[in-house]
């Protein structure tokens, strides 16, 4: 397979490739020009919540010391696909199966970041929010990583599309206790 180049719809090459995500709030939006934080009260965004969440949980912010901007569009890392292999719920839980990686450098930086972050159970939504991956991109990557055995995914399969009564009872008693 020929080495992929940037923008040809394949994952980034390993090695000194530019990181395709950027943690500066609003960095992606600046580039895409599609949305600017604070541009108006359109959907109650809380762009400031991330940092405080990080410090509360004591997590390392990935790529913190990197000053590079986001150099590729987010769906480049998914090979241009916009649909995951299977539908992942936003609350589906993900955990890394590979703690002591073989050679993770062959993985896209986003996937490496997901593995790092998922040493404990994390939801798809948390992965998207904390690693600043658009939800659609996170879903595709996580589904792929599940298929490759890199992560384990826990997602409820409800019989009739709604949680069963036993689960609802557990939620109810849990809510009464907190």
């Amino acid at each position: 397979m020929a080495g992929p180049g940037r923008g040809d719809g394949r994952p980034l090459p390993p090695g000194p490739a530019p990181r395709s995500w950027d943690n500066r709030p609003g960095a992606w939006e600046e580039r895409s020009g599609s949305w600017s934080p604070g541009s108006g009260p359109s959907w109650e965004s809380r762009s400031g919540s991330w940092d405080s969440a990080q410090s509360r949980r004591g997590m390392q912010r990935p790529g913190e010391d990197e000053a590079v901007g986001r150099l590729v569009r987010p769906y480049t890392v998914t090979g241009g696909r916009t649909q995951p292999r299977y539908q992942l719920q936003v609350e589906a839980l993900v955990t890394a199966t590979v703690y002591e990686p073989r050679d993770l450098s062959v993985l896209a930086p986003e996937c490496q970041a997901i593995l790092q972050f998922c040493r404990d159970w994390r939801s798809v939504a948390e992965i998207s929010a904390v690693l600043r991956l658009p939800l659609g991109v996170a879903r595709i990557l996580i589904a792929d990583m599940g298929a490759d055995g890199l992560v384990r995914i826990h997602q409820r399969e409800d019989a009739e599309g709604r949680p069963d009564r036993n689960l609802l009872e557990r939620v109810l008693s849990g809510l009464r206790k907190i």
């Binding site: 992606w28 939006e29 895409s32 599609s34 949305w35 009260p41 359109s42 959907w43 109650e44 965004s45 809380r46 762009s47 919540s49 991330w50 405080s52 969440a53 509360r56 949980r57 987010p74 539908q87 719920q89 936003v90 609350e91 589906a92 839980l93 159970w121 939801s123 939504a125 948390e126 998207s128 929010a129 904390v130 600043r132 658009p134 939800l135 659609g136 826990h154 409820r156 409800d158 599309g161 709604r162 949680p163 009564r165 689960l167 609802l168 009872e169 557990r170 939620v171 109810l172 849990g174 809510l175 009464r176 206790k177 907190i178």
Partner: protein, 183 residues
């Protein structure tokens, strides 16, 4: 490990984020989904020329109920144009809390219409600003033209006990809807 979710909906500025904040064990996070013009049928991006994509943000919080049971609360953008996110979100959800501000009741119509049509159990939380609840639940229920079975309760979105009580009401309602559906 099992995870569950509840959707918190309502018009802009009605207190969805405050609701999530008051009960979440983490500082609420924001996830972003990108929407392109091509992916929407009824969107009205036409008033923004040359705009091919937009980003919608969704706030969420987490409550660990048991060692192996986690509940997520998702605050959704309230506008019509974000229905595509709701379709995704309500899959497998316990139900929804629709927060209403009685001064701007119409802002909650899209959410109420949507949940009625989708069959997702929902409750109405009347967010009292400054602790004031000038309207009776029955009046709000009538004004929204919803089934009398749908619980309508006062809810101070900033108050943890109040939001907890609202969530409990929703789960109880979801269980009763399910019980009725079996017969």
């Amino acid at each position: 490990m099992t995870s569950m979710k509840i959707v918190v909906a309502g018009g802009f500025g009605v207190g969805k984020t405050a609701f999530v904040v008051s009960v979440s064990e983490i500082t609420p996070l924001t996830t972003e989904a990108q929407m392109t013009v091509a992916s929407t049928d009824v969107d009205d991006l036409s008033h923004v020329p040359d705009k091919s994509t937009t980003t919608v943000a969704m706030d969420f919080g987490r409550i660990t109920l048991e060692k192996d049971l986690v509940l997520y609360l998702f605050g959704t953008p309230g506008q019509h144009r974000f229905w595509f996110m709701w379709d995704d979100l309500i899959q497998g959800a316990i139900g929804a809390v629709v927060l209403v501000d009685t001064r701007r009741l119409a802002d909650s119509f899209p959410a109420v219409d949507y949940f009625e049509a989708s069959g997702l159990p929902f409750v109405i939380g009347i967010n009292g600003f400054h602790g004031q609840f000038p309207h009776r639940s029955k009046d709000v229920s009538d004004a929204l033209a919803i089934s009398p079975d749908v619980p309508v309760i006062p809810c101070d979105a900033r108050n943890r006990e109040s939001t907890k009580a609202t969530l409990v009401t929703l789960v109880e309602h979801a269980m009763s809807v399910q019980a009725v559906g079996r017969h």
